[in-house]
Symmetry: C2
Subunit: 251 residues, 2 copies
């Protein structure tokens, strides 16, 4: 049964304040909910899905009898944050994987400095997972990880990476890795020898890397624009993809 | 004066059919409209903007007295396709720059095979402009260039690149360039010597490069995922950014 109070509660989870207080978040869509049911990395508190999803995934759902509710497409629309709701919605417990500092010091890590757009953050998680970058850090001003648009855009990558909100100075103090950052007047990244272990800083969509963090960069890099280009900058998620691909390129 | 009929007409331009019939499209936002006024690459048929925009850009607008209308924020909202309209909106004549085949044969070109998402297409235009790729081709199934979301996401790059809807076989017949395409079982792009002149094919978001075009690829490439990755694919605009950056990297 989908009570009025339950609908209210699920709608309230679209707000950051409520998500944080309840330590819950929402995952939507057939594919991602199925992944969560299969991988069992997260504690699913409740699942709402259409009759059809229930039939097709009866075995996976058998562990969740008490916590599973069949809903009509209309009901799903009421509780969904998507324009076109997609068969299933799960209420999931937030979890915090501990930072493995020893591992992080031996690899690439990302620091997200004030990324504002949830689509960009989700896409960056997907890129990080693609390139096997396990540990991400974010400034407190970066958009919240559990924002539904971040979760959707990550295409499931949110479940595979480690993510910690932490001041830059603290991260740098622990990692002691060379710090690279993309800035408009940086050195041509094509001419740099890029190390296997580094902390890469990515900046805000409008303002780039905040001044206080720019001072801490060891190497200022840029992806060079072609002389013919009239474009002022690349989108931060595009820049992240390029920088990660160049760092991972065997030399 | 913003008549009822004019409002109706401007709203109708949000539909592809009407844009094509009228050979017009709409550009929105302070920055992009200002660029159009400055660069004069396009014929602006009409401009609608707030009092403030008019004051700040009086000199630029002086050539357009007959074609310029001051609107209130409420009126702008009515004619805008944006959630948050931004000061100015221009009705612009579609133009078709002729293909410079001789130039295109000496450089990188892109072929967009059934790109569906307007945000992706706009972002790809921005990437192409950044890397100085002047000539883009698109399959007839690719989302329309003049879709307002394409124009917005391109951040003005639409005005600097050449774009032609054309069957793949015809493009290939004219260019006679080596054809590269990203496919999931392709050769590791890091291990390829990438030429300065090539036609790069980018595929549909869900289905990749259509089978008929895959048969025409000279080199099948992929951006290798890290062994740790659980992500199935990269977004097509992220892949475009990475592929273009690697092609433009001096060897």
């Amino acid at each position: 049964m989908l009570s009025k109070n339950k609908i209210k509660f699920l709608q309230a989870l679209q707000r950051k304040k409520i998500r944080t207080e309840e330590a819950l978040f929402v995952v939507e869509g057939e594919k991602m909910v199925k992944e969560l049911l299969t991988e069992q990395d997260f504690m699913l508190q409740e699942i709402f899905a259409t009759e059809r999803f229930a039939q097709e995934n009866a075995t996976l759902l058998s562990n969740y009898q008490q916590a599973f509710t069949v809903v009509t497409p209309d009901q799903l629309k009421k509780i969904s944050s998507l324009r076109t709701p997609n068969k299933a919605l799960a209420v999931v417990q937030q979890r915090q994987l501990p930072i493995d500092w020893a591992f992080a010091r031996q690899d690439l890590c990302l620091y997200l400095a004030d990324i504002q757009d949830p689509g960009n953050l989700g896409t960056i998680l997907r890129i990080a997972d693609w390139f096997g970058i396990q540990q991400l850090f974010a400034s407190p001003e970066t958009v919240e990880l559990y924002n539904p648009k971040v979760i959707q855009a990550s295409m499931g990558a949110f479940s595979r990476i480690r993510y910690e909100v932490m001041a830059f100075s603290e991260v740098q103090g622990q990692l002691q890795l060379p710090v690279y950052g993309t800035v408009l007047d940086g050195n041509n990244i094509y001419e740099q020898t890029l190390p296997a272990k580094a902390l890469i800083v990515l900046g805000n969509e409008g303002n780039g890397i905040p001044a206080a963090i720019q001072e801490q960069l060891d190497v200022r890099i840029k992806i060079p624009a072609h002389p013919r280009s009239g474009t002022e900058s690349l989108n931060v998620s595009i820049a992240t993809g390029i920088v990660c691909a160049l760092f991972r390129k065997p030399s």
